[in-house]
């Protein structure tokens, strides 16, 4: 029989992780419960659904902190996220459909860290730092170093993700987000990207670009980020971005798209981020 615990507080949750690293950490279940009747029955469940110590969204200290337990519905509706971290709110609105958004959590997207996780390019572009905890203490990890391979992360067997910390972008930073899929709702992305571009008098000062579905994990397009620095926003920066991307990524062929299609779409997505709107 599967053991089941709904922890009372963070200390109990972390002690359970340390004692039973093999137990399933279950949040909204929208990744873990897919085809549940055909899956191996877990030895135990640590239930994080509506677990208050990792819930909620707070604004302060020049940043927005999103608890790992926050759902996509909560993220999408939050006024400060919509205003300041638009790529994340836009991504939230296109994750699955209503039922998936009501249950899927930030911690779950980060926990799975699939190359097609929709929030992940936004977390990269918005310079997210994850807060992670275990009985050994709390630590911070930049999301850019979180993924270690195809659906593998830095998370140690005794750790939990507590929150995502996102600095508020300055007034001269433009943000953008774009998902390309077969239809808007409930479709796995073919390519998606997010950008945070700092501009001074029409010239790119710096940029952070996150891309999904073009490699075995979500990636920062660092070659593009370097190529656009000092370029004028518009055709100049867009063409520099396109050339740098073409030379630096090698998407895969799979059932959803060919590599050539993905590369062309990714180039268009990235180039468009630098057009003057």
């Amino acid at each position: 029989m599967t053991a089941y615990v709904r922890p009372r507080d963070l200390a109990e949750a972390l002690a359970l992780r340390a004692e039973h690293p093999d137990w399933m950490v279950l949040a909204g279940g929208t990744d873990l419960m897919v085809n549940a009747i055909h899956q191996k029955v877990p030895a135990g469940i640590v239930d994080l659904w509506r677990f208050a110590p990792i819930g909620g969204i707070t604004v302060g200290d020049g940043r927005i902190t999103i608890g790992a337990g926050a759902t996509w519905t909560e993220v999408e509706r939050h006024p400060a996220i919509r205003e300041k971290l638009a790529p994340l709110a836009l991504a939230a609105r296109e994750i699955g459909a209503l039922q998936i958004q009501a249950r899927g959590t930030v911690g779950g997207n980060v926990g799975t860290s699939s190359p097609v996780g929709d929030s992940l390019p936004a977390l990269l572009a918005l310079d997210c730092e994850l807060e992670v905890a275990s009985v050994r203490g709390h630590r911070r990890a930049p999301y850019s170093a979180w993924c270690t391979g195809y659906r593998t992360t830095q998370l140690a067997p005794d750790e939990l993700v507590i929150a995502a910390h996102l600095p508020l972008p300055g007034a001269n930073v433009r943000t953008a987000w774009r998902k390309v899929g077969t239809r808007r709702a409930q479709s796995i992305s073919k390519v998606m990207g997010a950008a945070a571009i700092e501009v001074d008098a029409g010239v790119v000062v710096s940029a952070r670009i996150g891309l999904g579905a073009v490699a075995n994990r979500p990636i920062r397009a660092t070659a593009v980020e370097e190529a656009v620095r000092g370029q004028r926003l518009g055709a100049q920066a867009a063409e520099a971005a396109r050339a740098a991307l073409r030379a630096s990524i090698a998407p895969i062929d799979d059932v959803r798209s060919t590599a050539a299609y993905r590369l062309e779409v990714a180039e268009n997505v990235v180039a468009r981020f630098f057009h003057v709107s």
């Binding site: 909204g28 419960m33 085809n35 009747i37 469940i45 459909a97 039922q99």
Partner: protein, 168 residues
Amino acid sequence: MKLELEVNGAAAHVEASPWKRLLDVLREDLRLTGTKEGCGEGECGACTVMLDGEAVNSCLVAVGQCHGRKVVTVEGLAAQRAGEAEVLHAVQRALVTCGGAQCGICTPGIAVCAVHVVDSGALHGADDATARAKVRELLAGNICRCTGYQLIVDAVIAAARELEGARS
């Protein structure tokens, strides 16, 4: 494990594995077979129920997570007063009158999701074109192989208008 949840307004006691899907507990343990299974993968929405007021796919909910929580299924949408015949929710009536159901497999999930959408006021004050676009977006997780959606959208809009009229 011993579970206590509120289903359609009444206390339900169940002895089940916490890993069992809410969908199966509803259908097998509680004999509420209105909730259907389409895909078992969260894609089709046939299994939609309300959990603490949110529309969710019951095939993706481990029942342990429902202990102490409120669940509403299609059987709980109609108003029921002791000694009186039950009164269907405006959404259910509109699905009937507009012809928004054919084989009926998707219908319980559509009804629950649409009641959630209409009762949450998401369509309030929206003009027709905006309301139709919203219904299509908010019901995108409910797949129907029969109707072509047009009559379902008609029904949801009709129900929203009726309830708005009743309120004002």
